[in-house]
């Protein structure tokens, strides 16, 4: 919320679209689009002032690096080496000489300018189609200087959006569990960082075990499991104020929480007398509803983006499998029928797919299937990995992976990884400490 007030988006020029360059994101992209990200030009006075405020030599160049890294990480773009650039940033911003950019094989070009206006950071940027010699996007933002990395993320999102036709996912954050210490006595803390790993912050001290944080898709609230006072319960945390509270008044363990798509309910499991069923709690009127009532383990619930259905895993057929039901608990249908065990179903924000973890013959897979269970596709195989979370545009999954220990039980680590829906572009997501249970936020600006 706070960010929205600070960040004023001004559209300078509406663009008529007849794009000549396009990036196809539906297949694994084997030939990423060559793009030149010219450093944002900056006048000497603004540069000096930002140096004082932000301790950065040249904030224009820094922002362009943020843009460039995002585009590169997506696997869809190939940002060209700046040493090859023929045109100076100041001049390119005024009028790009397309022949020069064509010569170094750039198909798209980003130029821009940074100025200090009334103690604020003002950034203009333009995206150009080099071959057609046409401007594709032109935008300006004004914000507080400390938001400079977010400006880079927003530019990358606009470029991604214009060139792929889908919304971006760079101006987002990841909440996760930071891990330290030996495997038998792990210390776990809630942590949050920008999608690219910067601005990492720990939200709890590690005094009690915390697990499975998840973002509210509509605001800056988080729900997670805490073992505070050895009573494992679902909590609600406001990451802007630090206020937290227990969700509901259950006489036993509550776990596996997730928000409904409108952010008004929490869906979770409640375990009692050896049986786990799915419940919801309305955050406004605090009314608790029981959704499943079955002697099997029912857990890991996730709503469809329209809120009409719930997917979850259950061992009612003896082994852990994925089911879909109406949001009132009626019409339960099993959808996973492949070999092995299936768990942690998560509905894509686009509504068409369900991501899951599969265990088969001692290997763990992250995969996707359609909501009716057809079209199963395994994206990645490993010794241990689970708990996928979708990027807000439904193109990328983030999950965690644990390593096998050696014969002495040494060498354990847990790390975050991301992979494109196509199964390409598998990447380690760098974190300060070991990490698990990632959850991707919605776009912060929108």
């Amino acid at each position: 919320m706070l960010f929205r007030y600070l960040l004023l988006l001004l559209i300078l020029l509406p663009i008529k679209s007849f794009a000549l360059i396009e990036v196809d994101i539906t297949r694994g992209n084997l030939s990423p689009l060559p793009i030149a990200v010219s450093p944002l030009s900056i006048d000497e006075k603004s540069r000096e002032n930002f140096k004082k405020i932000l301790k950065k030599e040249n904030i224009g160049a820094e922002i362009s690096i943020v843009v460039e890294n995002n585009l590169k990480q997506s696997g869809l773009f190939n940002p060209l080496n700046k040493d090859a650039f023929l045109q100076n940033a100041d001049i390119a911003n005024l009028k790009p000489r397309f022949e020069d950019w064509n010569l170094i094989k750039a198909q798209a070009l980003i130029t821009g300018k940074v100025t200090l206006v009334d103690e604020k950071l003002r950034v203009e940027f333009r995206l150009w189609d080099v071959l057609a010699g046409k401007e594709m996007v032109a935008l300006a933002f004004t914000t507080v200087p400390s938001n400079w990395r977010r400006v880079g993320h927003i530019i990358a999102d606009k470029v991604y959006e214009r060139l792929t036709g889908e919304s971006g996912y760079f101006d987002t954050r990841i909440i996760y569990v930071a891990e330290e210490g030996p495997k038998t006595k792990r210390i776990k803390k809630l942590a949050i960082m920008d999608q690219d790993g910067f601005n990492n912050k720990f939200l709890t001290l590690g005094n009690e075990l915390v697990l499975t944080p998840r973002f509210n898709p509509t605001n800056q609230m988080v729900t997670y499991l805490s073992y505070f006072r050895n009573l494992p319960r679902v909590y609600l945390l406001d990451i802007e104020t630090g206020m937290q509270e227990v969700v509901g008044d259950f006489p036993g363990m509550t776990f596996a929480p997730r928000f409904s798509p409108d952010g008004k309910k929490i869906i979770m499991s409640f375990a009692q007398d050896g049986n786990s069923d799915i419940y919801t709690m309305d955050l406004e009127n605090r009314i608790v509803e029981r959704i499943t009532n079955h002697p099997s383990i029912d857990t890991s619930p996730s709503y469809s983006p329209d809120g009409k259905y719930i997917t979850f895993n259950s061992d009612r057929s003896k082994f852990q499998q994925i089911y879909v039901m109406n949001s009132n608990g009626k019409n339960v249908k099993r959808i996973s029928f492949g070999r092995g065990l299936y768990g942690t179903p998560v509905w894509s924000p686009r509504g068409d797919l369900i991501a899951f973890t599969k265990l088969h013959k001692g290997k763990f897979y992250i995969g996707v299937m359609r909501a009716d269970g057809t079209g199963e596709r395994l994206l990645t195989e490993n010794f241990y990995q689970e708990a996928p979370s979708w990027s807000p545009n439904g193109r990328v999954l983030i999950f965690y992976r644990e390593t096998k220990t050696n014969s002495k039980g040494e060498g354990f680590s847990a790390k975050l990884w991301s992979i494109d829906l196509t199964g390409y572009n598998e990447k380690l997501v760098e974190t300060e400490t070991d990490a698990s249970d990632p959850s991707w936020s919605s776009l912060l600006s929108n």
Binding site: T184, R186, L225, S269, G274, S276, T299, Y384
Partner: protein, 161 residues
């Protein structure tokens, strides 16, 4: 359903013990830990609530059924609890690392309750027993092999006061 579960479990143990004895004829090495089926039967990591009263019972993969050995251990615990009527216990239920985190939390809770139910049939009041699942969060053995995993699939009775 219960009967078939028990039969199936018994069958698994039987098959596995045949395999084990077949192995044993080839190799005469003694290992510190042992498994029957994939249930841990060794004493490594086991602690004692009192002399002759082991603190934990072990489970097969994805199972919550108590084995014959587990029931014997729990009967000893029940006898000890009857003698020490002022003591309360927490049953801590655990799973191995080869499952998803959330499902394992539920599985740990089910395992601890399976032990609790058995103690109750031997006359221990449910008021004296609380249940706490750690899922796969607190392994005793950090190894990544079937023997380590079998030690971690457990329900441990811990003195609460």
């Amino acid at each position: 359903m219960n009967l078939s579960k028990i039969l199936k479990n018994g069958f698994l143990i039987l098959v596995a013990s045949l395999v084990l004895s077949a192995c044993a004829t080839q190799k005469t090495t003694t290992t510190t830990g042992q498994m029957q089926g994939d249930v841990y039967t060794g004493s490594d990591s086991v602690e004692y609530l009192a002399s002759g009263v082991p603190d934990r019972v072990f489970f097969a993969t994805n199972e919550t059924v108590l084995t014959t050995a587990s029931r014997e251990t729990l009967r000893k615990q029940a006898a000890w609890l009857r003698k020490n009527s002022k003591l309360n216990i927490v049953l801590e239920g655990h799973a191995d690392e080869r499952g998803t985190r959330e499902y394992n939390l539920a599985l740990g809770e089910r395992r601890a309750n399976s032990a609790k139910d058995y103690l109750m049939t031997y006359g221990i009041s449910s008021d004296r027993i609380s249940v706490l699942s750690y899922g796969k969060e607190r392994p005793v053995d950090s190894g990544s092999n079937p023997l380590s995993w079998s030690k971690n699939r457990r329900s441990v009775s811990v003195k609460a006061n």
